[in-house]
Amino acid sequence: MEALDEIKVRIEAAIPGARLEIIPNPGPANQSSLLLDHAHASTVARFLRDDPALRLDYCSNVTGVDWLERTVKKKVKVKKVVEGEEKELEETREEIFSGYLEAVYHLYSMAHKHGPLVVRLRTRDRAEGAHLPSLTPVWRSAEFQEREIYDLYGIHFDGHPDLRRILMWDEFTDHPMRKDYREPDDYEYEPTPHDDVLEKAKQHYVPRPAQDGTANIAAQ
């Protein structure tokens, strides 16, 4: 398969107006990915599927990611005039990335036996009812997995033929894989609690006024 930047150039030539971005992955996997814009996502997806050199006809996996708002500290060198002398100083700057939800597609080619090409879509924010274009019309195998992402992360896929919850029941309103999900409190009986569970289990402990003294219990 061609390098990702070559693919990007070809897509941009074939689909005018498509805004693509390469998301580098500097880790050991070195698997960079292609971020698509919402408006051209399905056109680009069709291109990836039908282009004779690529033929990415198989979407093996779709997964969701929840990115909270995060600040990244960067060290930058700045030139400053200190006591009439120009000096190079190091300054730390904070960059704030706002939170978003992401769907990641892993594409392979059965015809050419190559892949994966990793494609990403990002929502504007983490608010309830975040939207993304569905790629199920392009790759049928994305259907259940997009439903799963909808169920667990709450991303609505526009153009999905049958967007219902798949793992949790229909009446359920939460999205349990979101990082701010709070599970119901059913920690009445925890024989060996520790860490977070210990804190939750403590809410259910029976006070022992005889041993601990009423004053201590009230203070807690």
């Binding site: 949790m168 029941w169 009446e171 009445e188 009986y189 289990a201 022992r208």
Partner: protein, 209 residues
């Protein structure tokens, strides 16, 4: 029957040597029941594989009269909750239990069925089937070996053997006031409603700080 004065064990074995077999209705009844426990045929997760192994030839549950796995709750005496009970599955388990005729028994097999097991802190697994239905025998393990299930089965046979048919302290299934059906939990917005049946679920109170 149980109200009759119990026969002396020595006399009984003496009579048996002469070819006279003395027994009671209760003994005969329980003997028949404990040696033909028909389990409900269903499995929920990995523990079910061990249950299948228990029923197959190597461990052979048939030696204890438990090999007739029934595909219908109407014909089953025993519910082996073998595996992870997800919250989405729990109402169906309770419904199946309600559809079983009395007398009925429940074995809670494996860490999952007892407490949620390795998935206890997950968002989707019920923390023990005893939140909704009464359990007769618990088997710890992940998964419990077939020997453990056989042990549970024998424990259950012992329990059935000890059940009285009349008088005070007679078996609960003969007592009309003891419920044999339990409310099926509903799917709520955040959890099952109610999260546990307070009439059934009595976790040990932990006194700690």
């Amino acid at each position: 029957m149980a109200s009759a004065p119990p026969i002396d064990e020595g006399l009984r074995s003496e009579l048996q040597k002469q070819g006279i077999w003395v027994t009671s209705m209760q003994e005969l009844y329980n003997w028949g029941r404990r040696n033909s426990i028909w389990p409900l045929q269903f499995g929920l997760a990995c523990c079910a594989i061990e249950m299948i192994a228990t029923a197959a030839s190597r461990y052979d549950l048939a030696r204890f009269g438990g090999e007739v796995f029934r595909p219908s709750p109407r014909q089953a005496d025993l519910m082996i909750v073998a595996g992870t009970v997800t919250k989405k599955m729990a109402p169906q388990i309770v419904r199946l239990y309600n559809q079983m005729p009395d007398p009925k028994y429940v074995i809670s097999m494996g860490a999952c069925a007892i407490s949620g097991g390795p998935f206890k802190q997950g968002y989707n697994v019920l923390k023990g089937i005893d939140r909704y239905i009464p359990v007769d025998v618990y088997i710890p393990g992940c998964p419990p070996r077939p020997e453990a299930l056989l042990h549970a089965f024998m424990e259950l046979q012992r329990k059935i053997d000890g059940q009285k048919l009349t008088g005070t302290g007679k078996a609960a299934f003969l007592d009309k006031t003891v419920p044999s059906e339990f409310p099926v939990p509903a799917f709520g917005a955040h959890d099952l409603e109610p999260p546990a049946n307070a009439d059934v679920f009595h976790p040990p109170k932990i006194e700690r700080h």
